[in-house]
Point group: C2
Chain length 343, copies 2
């Protein structure tokens, strides 16, 4: 167990305008909290970075209550139980779920999204936030249920080096897709998409001939597009969808998730003329099937069909500074902060 | 049969820029054509007006070959067979399908969308272009299959006085919808939507409190939105969809179907956060089920559950002048031109 006896916190100082910045957060220290009846005290070990965190900072919070000014920033995290008066959690248990940027969090097992006790496993703890966390599971349910990828499909994934995109290609292949194409920025990331993440081909969205490459690689159109990006790329893809194609709206990385008005897809009437289905999913919806998803993903990892990519930074002090790099970062894979080792 | 011995034509003179205008067409006269082997000569009786005609005038034509400069303008129409060397058509047969703005058209039965012989019926001939034509059948398949409206749904239909919208409400009710709300422009049209078309309530999109009225009438959100309009209205509706709601992208009347860039829905990330399904359908896709649709619609008409609304203008000379009024017109129901009576 760590020797931290104060509870370090990064709280929201002000609601960000435009891109989120380190200055939107304030450092403070408090007492290590005492868990009440039915509560559990958890020492945080890892924080995961997700684009949805930027949404939680907006006024309406998107699909969750927004993080309040003065509150520790919400995050998905991994921690270890220190004390518990809930029979479902024992000291030493490793847990995963909604936490916040502080050394210690207090949680209740009877909330709507209780912390999940992690079973003993033969893989790194951090994978629970990446390939077996929001990113990997969103890729799994997005490709299998949202896009219903099947044999023969031509599949395109944007932000293919991201926590979700780096997994989505492998899931599409496992579902029998004919061609799996990743979109990324720059030759280095494109190389990674093919050589490490196992895509058939990559397209550099910064290249002038982006649309032409897309047409070349998908001569019969795109059957399924996993959109993590929005903006111009979504518009371009709408022009290249095959009849009855499917689009999953999963993210809008191109916007940096700022508060400024998003750019809507001007080519959206292709939904009508190409008879497309455009869907959104939230992982909440699959809460009873998360174990199934993790089991399948784990199997593909063991078989070498799914490459696990992580970008782990160490040190609580970096918590707010890492968030903006989620939208500008150069490293492939899941972005994580390691706060402490388990006891 | 008409005494017309020349073949009057309205041909496309130039590709419209912005709103379509009567000046985009040119009048000319030709000989009555001679049908060749396997062809059928048809005297035109009715032309139907559809927003898709504006799309056929764009450079790429949308989902069909664009109408060429110098070609008679394409239209859905009703006609009567004058001469035929095809055993499937006999002189005197009434037929429906793709025609063009001229007194006589020559068609082939072995094309991709052959003219359909209309069986004897106890309803007005023109209904084959309206409630039993593109508008009514799009409403039928859009509501039943595109939106999958079912018992308990709160359904909203925009352009509720249009050829499609005036039918969609009745179809939604027949599917067991709990509340069916129509959107129209101005108090007169809104009155018509409730009193004639049988909607539960109407909202005037010109009113400042449009969004507030929507919230009042749909306190639990909108389960199914039949979008004939696009633009700001689609954006507003996206903010009021219930979780797992469905949106059918059926038209973009707000754009006037001009060549200028459409306004994409800036709130499209609600597709993700509300887990929506946004779809498009084309009637082509249901070509084997059109009789089923017409049978169901006919049953509802006979039972008084579906009000048939038409706006019929007479005289070939009005063919091009009517097209712009489709986007600006004040009359509810299907817009039609009557060219001639059957023989």
């Amino acid at each position: 167990m760590s020797d931290v006896t104060v509870n370090r916190q990064w709280v929201l100082a002000r609601r960000p305008v435009g891109a989120v910045s380190v200055d939107d957060f304030r450092y403070q220290e408090g007492e290590v909290p005492e868990p009440g009846e039915g509560e559990v005290l958890v020492r945080t070990l890892y924080f995961g970075y997700d684009a949805s965190q930027r949404i939680w900072l907006t006024d309406d919070g998107g699909y969750m209550r927004p993080v309040g000014i003065g509150e520790p920033m919400r995050t998905m995290g991994i921690g270890q139980v220190v004390a518990s008066s809930d029979p479902g959690y024992r000291p030493g248990d490793l847990v995963e779920g909604f936490m916040s940027w502080q050394d210690y969090v207090v949680a209740r097992s009877d909330g709507p999204m209780p912390l999940r006790v992690l079973p003993p496993a033969d893989f790194p703890l951090s994978w629970n936030l990446g390939v077996f966390g929001v990113g990997g599971l969103t890729a799994y349910f997005g490709v299998t249920d949202g896009l219903k990828v099947g044999p023969g499909d031509t599949v395109v994934v944007s932000a293919a080096t991201g926590a979700t995109g780096s997994v989505a290609g492998a899931v599409a292949r496992a579902m029998g897709a004919k061609t799996v194409i990743g979109i990324a920025g720059g030759p280095e990331k494109c190389r990674w998409v093919v050589e490490e993440a196992g895509y058939d081909a990559a397209i550099d969205y910064r290249d002038d001939d982006f649309a032409e490459r897309l047409r070349e690689l998908c001569p019969d159109g795109v059957d399924a597009y996993f959109d993590n990006v929005g903006g111009d790329m979504l518009d371009t893809l709408l022009l290249h969808m095959a009849p009855h194609g499917r689009v999953l709206i999963c993210g809008a990385m191109s916007s940096g998730y700022t508060d400024v008005q998003l750019q809507g897809p001007t080519n959206y009437m292709k939904i009508c003329t190409q008879q497309l289905t455009v869907r959104g999913i939230l992982l909440f919806h699959y809460r009873d099937r998360l174990a199934e998803g993790a089991r399948e993903l784990g199997q593909w990892v063991r078989e070498g069909r799914l490459h696990v990519a992580e970008n782990i930074v160490e040190g609580f002090e970096h918590a707010p500074g890492l968030l903006p790099t989620l939208f500008t970062g150069k490293q492939p894979g899941k972005l994580l902060l390691k706060v402490a080792d388990p006891a």
